[in-house]
Amino acid sequence: MFGRGLQTLSIASVVLVTGAFALVFLYAPNDADQGFVQKIFYLHVPLAIVALGGFVDGGVFAIQYLRTGDRGHDLRSYVAIHLSLILGLGVLATGSIWAKASWGAWWVWDEPTLVSFLIVFLLFACYQPLRFSIDDPERQARYAAVFAIIGGAFVPLNFLAVRLAESLIHPRVLSTTGGSMPGEMRLTFLVSTVAMVCLFVTLWKYELASKHASMRLRALKRALAGDDAAGPLARTAAPTQI
C-alpha cells in the first residue's frame, strides 16, 4: 500500500509549510546586503536541496530495482525523478527571479549552485524521453534504472566541478550577509528545509498511491470485464505494472 501514512504526512506538510512561511515573513530579520529580496532564499534553496535529493533518491530506488526486480521500486524511482523535475522548474524560476532582483539580470553564471542545478536538470530532463522511446516495459524499467543511477552519481560530481570553476574569482552573488547567518535566519532556513522535505514526501506518496490505484483498477477491469474492456495501453513513459 503506497498511501500508508499519507494523511499524517499531509497534515504535517500543511503545518510545517505554513509555519515556515510565517517565520520567513514575520520572524526572520531583513538581510543587511540584499534587503527584503533575500526572503526568496528561504524558498529557493530548500527547494533546490529537495529537488537534488529527489534525483539522488531516484538513483537509490533504481539500485533497489536492479537488485530485487521489484517493479514497485521502479515506480518509486520514476515518481521521485518526475517530481524533482517539476520542483526543478521552480528552482530555476525562483533562482532567476532572485538574480533579477539582486543583480539586475535574469541569469547569473557566477552562482555555482544555480549553474550546476541547470546542468543536472538538463540531464534528468532526458529521463522521460528515454523511457518513452523504449517499448518493452521490462527493458524500459531496466534502462531507466541504469540512467537514474548514473544521474544520481553525477549530482555530487557536477556540483564539485562547477564550484571549483567559480569559487576563486567571482564572489558568491546570491549568498546572505557575507556568509554568516544570524540565529533567526538559520532557524527559519532549517524549518523551511524540513517543510520542503515533508512536502516532497507527501506529494511523492500521493502520486504513488494514485498511479498504483490506476494500475490495479486496470487489472481488475481486465479480470472482470474481459481483456477488451480495458483497451490497449498507449505508449507511456510511466511504469504501467507492478
Partner: protein, 247 residues
C-alpha cells in the same frame, strides 16, 4: 565485412576454454581487434570525426569572427570541437553489434559481459586519440595563436585523462541509446550534460597552456578532478553495464 564479425566472435568464445585465467583479457583483446579491423576496412568513424572537427574549426573562425585564438577562448573552442566529434563516435559505437546481431553472439559466448564494456571503451578511446593526433595540429595551424610546442606535454596529460572520461561515458550512453527508438537524439542529449565536468576541468586546465605570452604552468587540481571523475564513472560503469545487456 559480415564474415569478419562471426569468426572474431567465435574466437572470443573459444578463447576462455583455451586459457582459463586469461579469459577476460583475451575476450577484451578479441573484441578490440575485431572493432579496429572493422574500422580499418570501412574507415567510417575516425575520418568522419576528423573532418567534422575541421569543419567545426572553420565554423568557429567565422562564428567568432576571429582568426587567431589564445588562452581560454582557444581552450574552449578546442574542447567543444573534440566533444562534438566524440558524440559522432558514440553514435556509431554499437551500430555494428545492433545491426549484425553481434549482441546475441556475444551473450551466447561464455565470457564476462563487462569485457564488452572495456573493449568498447578502449575502442572509443583509441578513436579519440587517433582524431586528436590529426585535429590538434590542424587546430594549431588554423586557429591557435601562440605556438603549441610548449603546451604539448601538459596537453598530452589532459587529453589522456579527459579521453578516458569521455570514452567511459560514451560507451555507457551508446549502449543505453542503441536499444531505444531515438538513438541519434538520445546520445547527444544525455552525454553532453554528463561530460560537462570533463569539459570544465579540461578547459580550465588547458587555458593557461595556450596563453599569449607562452605556456604557463598546468594547474594540477584540474587533473585531480579529471582523475576523480574517471575513477567514479569508470567503477560505476563496470557495475552497471551488465544490466544493459540482459535480454
Amino acid at each position: 565485412m559480415a564474415g569478419a564479425a562471426p569468426t572474431a566472435e567465435a574466437r572470443a568464445a573459444e578463447a576462455p576454454r583455451d586459457h582459463a585465467g586469461g579469459g577476460f583479457a583475451s575476450a577484451v583483446s578479441a573484441l578490440v581487434r575485431k572493432d579496429l579491423r572493422l574500422e580499418l576496412r570501412t574507415r567510417e568513424s575516425v575520418p568522419a570525426m576528423f573532418l567534422f572537427s575541421l569543419s567545426t574549426f572553420v565554423l568557429f573562425r567565422f562564428g567568432l569572427d576571429r582568426e587567431s585564438l589564445e588562452g581560454d577562448l582557444a581552450s574552449g573552442v578546442l574542447w567543444v570541437t573534440l566533444l562534438f566529434a566524440a558524440v559522432l563516435g558514440m553514435n556509431r559505437l554499437f551500430v555494428a553489434e545492433r545491426e549484425e546481431g553481434g549482441f546475441d553472439a556475444f551473450l551466447l559466448a561464455p565470457v564476462d559481459r563487462t569485457s564488452l564494456f572495456v573493449a568498447k571503451a578502449a575502442v572509443l578511446f583509441g578513436f579519440l586519440v587517433a582524431v586528436e593526433v590529426a585535429a590538434i595540429p590542424a587546430f594549431a595551424v588554423l586557429l591557435l595563436g601562440p605556438s603549441p610546442f610548449q603546451a604539448l606535454p601538459g596537453l598530452l596529460a589532459i587529453l589522456l585523462l579527459a579521453d578516458v572520461g569521455i570514452a567511459v561515458i560514451g560507451t555507457l550512453v551508446g549502449a543505453l541509446a542503441i536499444q531505444t527508438r531515438a538513438r541519434d537524439l538520445i546520445v547527444p542529449l544525455i552525454s553532453l550534460p554528463l561530460v560537462l565536468p570533463v569539459v570544465i576541468a579540461a578547459g580550465h586546465a588547458t587555458a593557461p597552456l595556450f596563453a599569449e605570452a607562452g605556456a604557463e604552468a598546468l594547474p594540477a587540481r584540474w587533473l585531480g578532478v579529471l582523475g576523480l571523475y574517471d575513477l567514479v564513472f569508470g567503477l560505476l560503469a563496470l557495475a552497471v553495464f551488465d544490466f544493459l545487456l540482459e535480454d
